[in-house]
Amino acid sequence: MAVKNLLEAVRETLHDALARDERVFIMGEDVGARGNVFLITKDFLEEFGSDRILDTPLAEASIVGVAIGAAMAGLRPIAEIQFADFIYPAFNQIVGEAAKIRYRSAGGNTCPLVIRTPYGGGVGGALSHSVSIEALFYHVPGLKVLAPSTPADAKGLLNAAIEDDDPVLFLEHKKTYRLIKGEVPSGNHTVPIGKADIARAGRDLSVITYGLMRHFAVQAAEELIKDGIDVEVLDLRSIRPMDRDAILTTATKTRKVLIVHEDNKFGGVGAEISAIIAEEALFELDAPVRRLCGPDVPAMGYSKVYEDAFMPSPERIAAAMRDLAAF
């Protein structure tokens, strides 16, 4: 298998989907001649033409709204929001419309739509190019929310999203684009939506996480094993639907759970993970369910000082692990 970074994996997957399925097309800001601001769609315009690689006006609500209409008409649009921070103007179309089309029409209409967007910090994106948005969408029935962390999962889940008959929000952590490399199965590799992945098996405590933090957690775990502390790392991969079984299995296995995410703590995805455990496995635990998350401030700022102070680091994760292990 070829080794690729996450950006290349996404690019290859989009390319093959366009080549494979004529119902698939891409629309978004600067996806054409510019080839997307991260160069994910570089050269697509030449290969697939302006009908299928659509440079849209600067208007997110219509990027999603027009894609919804095309999906209702039988196409498989892949809409891009240039940065997750700019998905807010499309919130009505995603939450009020896409998520409810199948339900409100009792199955008469469907909305097989993929919305891709880069999210997260650590790349100097400042206050308005660093946000995590999963907690603003994972509560919404009718939507699926994916956050792959490895190139192989990015490919497998993106293929699954494109084949899915319902709207999928596909979150790509900016920091993983070039930082994270890995083997990527060739061909139409898919990963089932809703299944978590054990990034590292361990006995002493469980970290439940997703996205960039999966890698920081594994890194921290490799530190702790030197002291004989054996950490299991569960990567959710899919945030909605969420793999309850995998969560309960690891929680009851190690009896100690640390939830890690970059997004703000209060009302974040970690809250639901913790609540599932508190509801189903409370008496299997030897320690409180802890959460290590971004602080409850509006955003990480432009200065690297703010970014470093905001984002959980391998060091901070390792410290939290030691703490919990010692409980």
């Binding site: 095309a70 409100r104 029409s105």
Partner: protein, 338 residues
Amino acid sequence: MKSEPSVRETLPEGLTPERLRDMYYFMILTRVCDDRGFALNRQGKIPFAATCQGHEAIQVAAAFALRRGTDWIVPYYRDTCMALSFGVTPREQLMCLFARKGDIFSSGRQFPNHYSVPDRHIASISSIIAAHVTHAVGMALAHKMRKEESVVLTSFGEGSTSEGEWHEALNFAGIHKLPIVFLCENNEYAISVPQSMQMAVKNVADRAVAYGLPGVICDGTDPIASYVTVREAVERARAGGGATLVEAKCYRAMSHTTDDNQLTYRTPDEIEAAKKRDPVPRFEAWLADRGYLDERSAAELKARALAEVNEATDWAELQPLPTPEDLYTHVYAEGPLS
């Protein structure tokens, strides 16, 4: 009815005496359905109904100006007459009023008049104003990509044009010269808010230039003028000429819905005056004057409409309600998740 000798004249392309009578029939059928909704609400049999009284002419005209089986409509909640004229049956209309399980639009999930009949080319909308307009644009984009002949017609009120999404939809359609007709049914009010507090322009059609689109105005209470205007826009779209913004001037003859009370924001005089613009009796007189409709057949059609709606009402009322389990259907293709 006036007793002048009847005048024959050449009809606009696409219209025949037969079709004129059909248009008239759908207008009175709609009127009976509309009154029935409010009556059922007063009887406490249904919690809510909306009206399209005053809009019948433009709505039936729009439906007749389209090619059934080829073109699509993405109507809004006030388009009862457009829907009935485009294939929705009185039984289906009453089923949504009664929110029965068998309501084909939403199985009793949405308010009445939120149509959805894909096999008859009617797309689903929500109650969120103007959100469907970008969807209509996306459907037109799909038709263009697939090189299909289909034209999409989507409708909305003048208040809806204030929404940002409306702007984005027309801008997108203008850039890509999409086969779509934007139909604004301007009834002068958004619930209680008059047009003068909604926009600083006299005509919604004046907004078309901002998108490089033709903007045309018609008397939305005149079915013939409306038909001619919409048909021209539809055929321009089909011929590759791109989108048109059509503004049909009409009036909402009743309160916004059964939940509203128009007397809190408009005077009895204004309401009285508007009655003169009622499209139904005016079209009946027009047809009679020209000998397309005699009193007897008018009476027959009215009787038939009433009978149809009565039958549909009695039938629909007896249909089963949804069950609590139905709450969980159609969440995802795979069923409910998580």
